[in-house]
């Protein structure tokens, strides 16, 4: 990376200029506004499951049908939410994030040519 990195320091200003634009601020806010709450959600849900498993084994061991208990269903629920978040994020990223990010990247090429 060091070689490339050094080549770019001469042209550092365009990056700085773009970073301070309203659009880039919006892009950053949009990205963080999606990934941070989503991360908080899946971590909270995961640790809820872990803590219930370890501190409330009787609750988790309650049978729902046959030998299938609450703990197992919640465990499978972790799989479901993981798959769901993956799909939701992917759809969000290609619809909401990518076009804006690409546009800003293109704009940067414009600035650098001047």
């Amino acid at each position: 990376m060091s070689h490339e990195a050094r080549d770019y320091t001469d042209n550092a200003d365009p990056y700085l200029a773009l970073q301070q634009t309203q659009e880039f601020g919006d892009l950053r806010r949009k990205f963080r506004g999606f990934v941070f709450p989503m991360t908080a959600f899946f971590l909270a849900w995961y640790f809820l499951y872990v803590l219930l498993s370890i501190f409330a084994p009787d609750f988790m061991g309650q049978k729902v049908f046959g030998n299938i208990n609450i703990g197992l269903l919640m465990g499978l629920g972790q799989f479901v939410t993981t798959f769901a978040i993956t799909m939701i994020y992917s759809r969000w990223a290609s619809r909401e994030f990518d076009p804006r990010a690409d546009a800003l990247g293109a704009k940067l090429d414009g600035i650098k040519e001047h």
């Binding site: 990376m1 060091s2 070689h3 490339e4 990195a5 770019y8 320091t9 550092a12 200003d13 990056y15 700085l16 773009l18 970073q19 880039f24 892009l27 950053r28 990205f31 963080r32 990934v35 989503m38 991360t39 899946f42 971590l43 995961y46 640790f47 499951y49 872990v50 803590l51 498993s53 370890i54 501190f55 084994p57 988790m60 061991g61 049908f65 046959g66 030998n67 299938i68 208990n69 703990g71 197992l72 465990g75 499978l76 972790q78 799989f79 993981t82 798959f83 978040i85 993956t86 994020y89 992917s90 990223a93 290609s94 990518d98 990010a101 690409d102 800003l104 990247g105 940067l108 090429d109």
Partner: protein, 554 residues
């Protein structure tokens, strides 16, 4: 149901020559493919990242191949077979962890790095000290991960080839190591990636077939399968297994015993969920695709394949518990790690056992090859080229060092395989995850998301996380001081007959991960260093992907 006559002799299962033949044919076929796709002289970019020429789908399958290591396949299946629900918890942590990579790390890493983890960590900080630190922790994590894979190889070898003598086992491990080095030398990242893709497809297919087979034996009734595992455990000759048979289906069989084991479990869970996105060999896979969109697609594929596979291991694990039984598993060489191969033998006799163990060997080979590339890239690119020579080396010199580093790491792999053979490998991998989450993840997240972050913060976080995690492991019951088990006459600790442990938990994550984050914060706020233009460059590039193509064409 749980009759496995060959096991009674405590010797090998199935036909060793068939096992060897299947393994050898896999090696020959994949080596042929490696030579075809990737032989010849390579640039550094081709050797480290396959020239970033893979598609997101290909890379996603390769990531699954890399991640579904011996630990996932043999270790988790064994843990579920013996500990039921508590074993299942491993796979949940291993899977959910991918969301950290998907949402926070993969795309931004792809946009700001080129070859190694240190590319990103040192981007806007002082190159030399941060690269040395990042390389040190990358090598440490890769070493722990490697140890787990080679431990799996040792157990598997003794199970399948009927070699139980120390010396004979070590020779087989050395052969595995030599084949792995051949893959890396000839194929570089491109060849290794293809091996991982082939292996992932074989592993998932074979596991799916076994899953359907097991379910078929229980009338496609999951509840009936669980009951089968409980019933088999109740028929055990071991009083303890009988007493805890019902607990297979509820949490707590392994981790619910005391307050210490409960806290240990929280520590493990934390390490699992935060470790994946800090594993250097996983991060390096993001550089094998050209853009952040392809990196995203890689992780999507990986999540679907890995999640699907772990659902299958739930059935495989309980199937091994029901059809093979805890007694036969405990008696087998390699113990818990032998559960899946034994189940294959129970279902399909020698041919299926041969196929499954051939795939398990291939798994170890492919994962170790990936680790070796990462380690040699770290050594040659971060340490030799940038840190020691200030960037003034030719590509030939760098590649020469990378190849020697690969050989050196391969030798370490072989030596490491001779230790810790009886440890559950899922558990050993969990230690690698703890070190990765403590030493690597804080710096990765801070440098991508926290403006104020600087060199002192990075150094304190990396070294603090690394040293604390490793120190706590050394003084944990994993290394010394677990009471001797009556059944085996040995302590489950790595070292026998000594006890210098003072840290109560097996997994250090609960202490060392928060410490890594805290030190990163503390170091940053006590230092004034801030490179405004590099920060702007890194942030803009990380989000827009600007300049990523130029870095590749270079």
């Amino acid at each position: 149901m749980a009759t496995l006559t060959p096991m009674a002799a405590g010797a090998t299962v199935g036909n060793p020559w068939l096992n060897i033949a299947i393994f050898a044919s896999f090696v020959i076929v994949t080596l042929g493919i490696v030579i075809k796709v990737a032989a010849g002289k390579k640039s550094a970019g081709e050797y480290y990242t396959g020239g970033a020429s893979f598609s997101g789908t290909q890379n996603g399958i390769a990531i699954a191949g890399d991640y579904l290591s011996a630990a996932s396949f043999l270790g988790i299946a064994g843990a579920i077979a013996l500990q039921g629900y508590d074993g299942f918890l491993y796979s949940i942590g291993f899977l959910v962890a991918w969301l950290v990579a998907l949402l926070l790390v993969a795309e931004l890493m792809r946009n700001t790095g080129r070859f190694t983890m240190a590319d990103v960590l040192s981007y806007r900080l002082k190159q030399r000290p941060v690269r040395i630190a990042a390389a040190t922790s990358a090598l440490a994590v890769s070493f722990f991960y490697l140890l787990a894979q080679m431990a799996g190889a040792g157990g598997l070898v003794s199970l399948l080839l009927g070699v139980s003598g120390e010396a004979a086992q070590n020779i087989v491990i050395a052969v595995v190591g030599a084949v792995m080095i051949a893959y890396v030398m000839i194929g570089g990242m491109k060849g290794t990636t293809w091996v991982q893709i082939i292996k992932a497809i074989l592993l998932i297919t074979a596991t799916a077939i076994m899953t359907v087979w097991v379910l078929g034996k229980f009338g496609f009734n999951l509840s009936g399968l669980f009951q089968g595992a409980v019933d088999t455990a109740k028929g055990s000759a071991n009083e303890k297994t009988v007493a805890t048979a019902d607990k297979l289906l509820t949490p707590g069989l392994k981790y619910g015993k005391t307050d210490t084991t409960k806290i240990d479990f929280i520590s493990l869970s934390l390490a699992l969920v935060l470790g994946t996105a800090g594993l250097p060999h996983v991060l390096q896979r993001f550089y094998t695709v050209p853009t952040s969109k392809q990196a995203r697609k890689s992780v999507e594929w990986a999540i679907w394949l890995i999640g699907g596979f772990y659902l299958l291991t739930l059935v495989i694990g309980f199937g091994a518990g029901a059809l093979v039984g805890p007694d036969a598993i405990a008696k087998a060489p390699g113990k818990a790690n032998a559960a899946a191969p034994l189940l294959a033998y129970e279902l399909g006799g020698s041919p299926l056992l041969g196929i499954i163990s051939g795939i398990a060997f291939a798994t170890i080979l492919a994962v170790v090859a990936g680790l070796t590339i990462t380690a040699s890239a770290t050594f040659a690119h971060d340490l030799y080229k940038v840190a020691f020579k200030g960037g003034n080396v030719t590509q030939e010199q760098e590649m020469k060092v990378a190849r020697w580093a690969a050989i050196g790491f391969g030798i370490i792999a072989v030596l490491g395989g001779m230790f810790a053979k009886d440890q559950n490998i899922a558990f050993l991998v969990a230690l690698a995850f703890a070190v990765a989450a403590s030493a690597n993840l804080p710096t990765i997240l801070y440098s991508l998301f926290w403006k104020r972050f600087n060199t002192r913060g990075a150094l304190w976080s990396i070294y603090g996380g690394l040293i604390s995690a490793i120190t706590l492991i050394i003084f944990s019951p994993v290394v010394s001081g677990k009471p001797v088990e009556a059944a085996t006459g040995k302590s489950p600790s790595m070292l026998q007959g000594v006890d210098f442990h003072w840290f109560p938990l097996d997994n250090p994550g609960l202490i060392s991960i928060p410490l890594g984050f805290f030190l990163g914060w503390l170091g940053s706020v006590t230092s004034k260093e801030f490179n405004e233009s590099k920060y702007a460059e890194m942030e803009v590039r990380s989000l827009t992907g600007h300049g990523v193509a130029e870095a590749i064409d270079h």
